[in-house]
Symmetry: C2
Subunit: 259 residues, 2 copies
């Protein structure tokens, strides 16, 4: 297709990652991307469409504010409301919905135009396993001290080489990232971690949370976070937390495409 033949749309998505292989298409298992592209394709007479995402969430990871863009054939007569409602209809019965859609220029990219991503990680900190929030929290029985966790988290703020917190399989060329926000607070039985950065390495949030739980449960002193960071070695950090508690909450752009 030439550029004339394309209309590009930004979409904001909410999905429950439970049971999916993650965002990206895989040989086996259902991906969010395959469902989204199939639904978008049905909107335009089953012609092929492609999508680019601001973040390739892992299997079991949720999103309340993912942003992607989709290139539709340029002759398709569609508006934002039709994309939201029509795709929402075709996506049934899956727990994937389009919250809103807005046309963008062809030089806009959900991935490369993004200037920040934010994630929330929820830990259920009590003895009984989760009933109401199963697959949406990490269940940690040991009592967590959120003040110690925050003290440890503060060592990670700013620009660092996050090699210790990246997955071995991570394909990013540089492991240097700038962490703008990493806060921990308690709401009753929930311990909630919020974080924000221009971009994150593969598994970075889950690996940071795994280490912060070592601090909160008093298995590590908070200062250990600095050591772990300086080791630049994945083996120095704590375990990778399960995906269940993680949710991509938002993606930011120089200008909000949905405003």
């Amino acid at each position: 297709m030439t550029e004339m033949d394309i209309s590009r749309w930004a979409l904001r998505l909410e999905y429950d990652g439970t049971g999916f292989v993650g965002w990206q298409k895989q040989q086996d298992g259902v991906s969010i991307q395959s469902l989204i592209e199939a639904a978008a394709s049905r909107l335009v007479g089953n012609r092929p469409v492609s999508s680019i995402t601001a973040g390739r969430t892992d299997a079991g990871v949720h999103a309340s504010g993912m942003v992607i863009h989709i290139d539709f054939p340029g002759d398709a007569k569609i508006n934002g409301r039709q994309i939201r409602d029509g795709m929402g209809y075709y996506l049934k019965p899956h727990r994937v919905v389009v919250l809103e859609a807005a046309q963008v220029s062809l030089d806009w990219s959900a991935r490369f135009s993004a200037i920040w991503r934010s994630y929330q990680f929820k830990i259920l900190n009590r003895q009984a396993r989760p009933a109401l929030q199963e697959t949406h929290v990490w269940h940690v029985k040991r009592v967590l001290d959120v003040d110690l966790m925050q003290e440890g988290a503060n060592y990670l703020l700013g620009s660092h080489d996050f090699t210790s917190f990246r997955a071995i399989a991570c394909q990013a060329r540089s492991a240097v990232r700038t962490l703008d926000v990493l806060t921990i607070h308690r709401e009753g039985e929930l311990v909630i971690v919020n974080t924000k950065a221009r971009s994150f390495l593969h598994h970075q949030v889950r690996n940071m949370v795994g280490s912060l739980v070592m601090v909160g449960s008093r298995q590590w002193p908070p200062e250990k976070m600095r050591e772990v960071l300086e080791a630049r070695n994945r083996c120095a950090a704590g375990p990778t937390s399960p995906p269940d508690g993680l949710c991509l909450t938002g993606v930011g752009y120089p200008e909000d495409p949905f405003a």
Copy 2:
């Protein structure tokens, strides 16, 4: 069994009502009560146990703080931790857990000693259907004005004959109830109704919410709530809201058995 043969325990439960026929045992379908009693029975060598609940929640209604009591055989050597963890184990993989257990006297009843019940009802007020909170919210697309809803709700506070808001099948002798709390507030896309009373009639909360949504969507003026109440006729009120948004959040007693 004589009284000497019994030890009575108060249990606080959390459960996801999705897919269950409700609290009470039924001919067809799985009830929370049958799972709870089966798990309790396994704790004491498969001897029969019986339970009494503070509230018989309907099919699809959730609980974050239900209280029940269970009579175990008096010779069973069990403590609160064993009940919580043992029953939690036997209740797998169901979304039903015991949060805590405490021994109570034989004249204590989860149902008759209770002096208040509290419920929360969540409405997802946006165009797109729920993905992350499916089966935990009522999806209402029409924009709701929570100030109008609160104005309408205020007519229901205090002691009234709630015939207009009770299920036709409701078996309570009197329809007079005293509503102590009925507040409505917005948290982003969620409209949250909190209510509290000594006790509620069958379907009372769901019927009140159904009518309040008529007010919030400007189909009824707030003053209509007074008319509906005074009609003492179920047909005068709005539709029964679906069970999904409803959660029993707590039950109160003169002395907290878990303190």
